[in-house]
Symmetry: C2
């Protein structure tokens, strides 16, 4: 089955093909002018990453490096860039998608034969990221997929590869969120949701689904099995923007939970170049908060002591430009002061469905979230 | 929504409740007779595990230990057993399910208050396993769930919590396999499948789904994201037995792949007591085989060197009673001789869809599998 099933999907794929071709044509033009062929590759280094306070996302800067063909230290990477971009072209033309691991294996024997050195996947992954930033296409637009994690239920009908998925009738399991959710594959239909709720853990998501929270509170319920994979992030982005829905993030109260929220909201340093197609700067942090233990009268024994690495991670997060709001500083400092972390499951102590019947409805009603 | 939506589901839950009550009534009877209350708990030790060659599964033996109430070293565990079995009773009565982590948090403050020692989840998990074997109910029948991993597409219609899920219309994502797939939650309807294919990796599963392998070859296509979680194992068991379908397991050619296959087929040593409700002794190993590299003329560079731990693991597997068939010894010894392992993705070198169009159809046609 071809990946592009809709007119707009075909258009998107065509546009990506054009960009890959343009990259190759640039080299041909250089050669025709007897110029040393070169490509400009945006720099994916920390020095070229910054927080755009206006857009409220982590962005890649404008620095680039040139990669030359006639340069002994660059010729290998130069060649690999075109080998792999040609593989992507073939994928798109065949309407097929594949994993980075597959791509690595497709190329490995040739790369090793040419260089007589063992080839590692880190190398082909890095070149793939170069291609992404150079032609300005998401990996998913190059028909490459990452991990298939996370699930969705709720007040939304989705079309996935031509099949209609009604989020209201997905049982206890839900729709398994695919790794590529670009518009050529996934489209949104009937939406009755008022918001999106991302729950960090699948076990807690199950509680919300079993209690049919999404029905009562008219929402779309998503989990990403811990740190959400790219497919989930991209889907959240698309739903938040195209369906104009607020997104609430519900995570453990520990530095890892803050981090999950922050990646959803402004993107990550490592993948800064993808923020503008994945980050949701309006995402809200709905809990758990370091003030919840006292507020909800939870026994101290359901909290856990912060480990040394938690403390240093929390201190690091305190310094991030995107956590400088007064409320956030208060939130993080209070966790450090208490010296404890609190997991979502700890709320079960107040009753199995306390989280779906009291905790979250109350927070939503009182607009008790951090921005 | 109550967990039991069907008459048979309600019956199942009632039967589990009866077993939990019987456990408690035994203690009451002991007390009435002024006998020291005791429960018999089947031993979950290696010495009480054996391979039943006739049933072809790993089983728990008949050894039990007594747990007394009037015994200073046992009273804590004795009490915990009834505390937690009472929590399970309440779950079943409320028609709700929960995770082991939730259960731990529900009990932690009380256990700590009583013992004045810090309570760890390992302890409540162990007691829960005691309850499982003592009342002879799967954890899932006690309404406790594990991880939510894995997905399914293909020629089967499923009812999940009353919602109809058509495996033929699940898009690229598939139905996310829930952690509890007991008959009170999941039922099978229209099945047009001739077999079940379990693929180790979600990325390879995606290839099979995209190529609509399940449509052409009339099968049910499942992945478990590596070592399948309990929900996936239990679902495979139920489909293989209730739908009378052969099950083919498709894994990397390395000791880990052999192990995944062997757990599916005869169960694991750790969870020996669940084999008879999870193991599928007729499961077939369809690849990758250590002979495939040569047979399919794959470049040596797409294989990887066995690490030391791979070699020792393979030697250990060679000795397992359930790997004593001549063909299996040949298979494993050949991997050791070659000193290489081969990942599913390596087949991509022969073409993106080589695996779905040539490799697997050929193996199925020639009945080229190991049993």
């Amino acid at each position: 089955m071809p990946a592009a099933t809709t007119a707009s999907g075909k258009k998107l794929q065509k546009a990506t093909l054009k960009k890959l071709e343009a990259l190759a044509l640039g080299v041909c033009r250089d050669l025709a002018k007897t110029k040393s062929p070169a490509i400009d590759i945006p720099l994916r280094t920390l020095s070229n990453v910054n927080f755009n306070a206006q857009k409220r996302i982590i962005e890649m800067g404008k620095d680039t490096q040139q990669r030359f063909f006639f340069n002994i230290s660059m010729v290998k990477k130069f060649t690999e860039t075109f080998y792999l971009s040609n593989e992507c072209r073939q994928l798109i033309e065949a309407g097929k998608t594949t994993s980075l691991r597959d791509l690595f294996y497709m190329a490995k024997p040739d790369f090793e034969a040419a260089s007589r050195e063992e080839y590692e996947q880190e190398e082909s992954d890095a070149i793939t990221e170069d291609i992404e930033v150079t032609v300005d296409s998401l990996r998913e637009e190059l028909n490459l997929f990452a991990s298939n994690r996370g699930a969705l239920v709720g007040q939304l009908t989705i079309v996935d590869q031509g099949d209609t998925i009604d989020g209201r009738r997905m049982g206890s399991g839900g729709w398994s969120i695919p790794s590529i959710v670009e518009p050529n594959i996934v489209q949104f239909k009937k939406c009755d949701a008022k918001f999106i709720l991302l729950v960090e853990k699948d076990a807690v998501w199950r509680r919300f689904n079993e209690d049919r929270f999404w029905e009562k509170y008219k929402c779309i319920l998503v989990h990403g099995q811990g740190q959400p994979p790219r497919g989930v992030r991209r889907l959240l982005y698309r739903m938040a923007n195209e369906l104009k829905l607020p997104l609430y993030v519900f995570v453990d109260n520990d530095p890892w939970g803050y981090y999950i929220y922050s990646v959803i909201k402004q993107g990550s340093i490592n993948l800064a170049y993808e923020s503008r197609r994945m980050a949701v700067p309006d995402a809200k942090f709905i809990g758990l908060s370091s003030f919840d233990r006292e507020k909800y009268d939870l026994d101290l024994s359901v909290t856990m002591k912060l480990k040394d690495e938690d403390v240093s991670r929390a201190k690091q997060i305190l310094g991030y430009p995107w956590f400088q709001k007064k409320e956030w500083q208060k939130e993080i400092r209070n966790m450090l002061k208490e010296g404890r972390k609190l997991e979502l499951e700890a709320l079960s102590r107040k009753g199995i469905s306390f989280v779906t019947e009291e905790y979250l409805p109350g927070k939503l009603k009182r607009k008790e979230w951090l921005d």
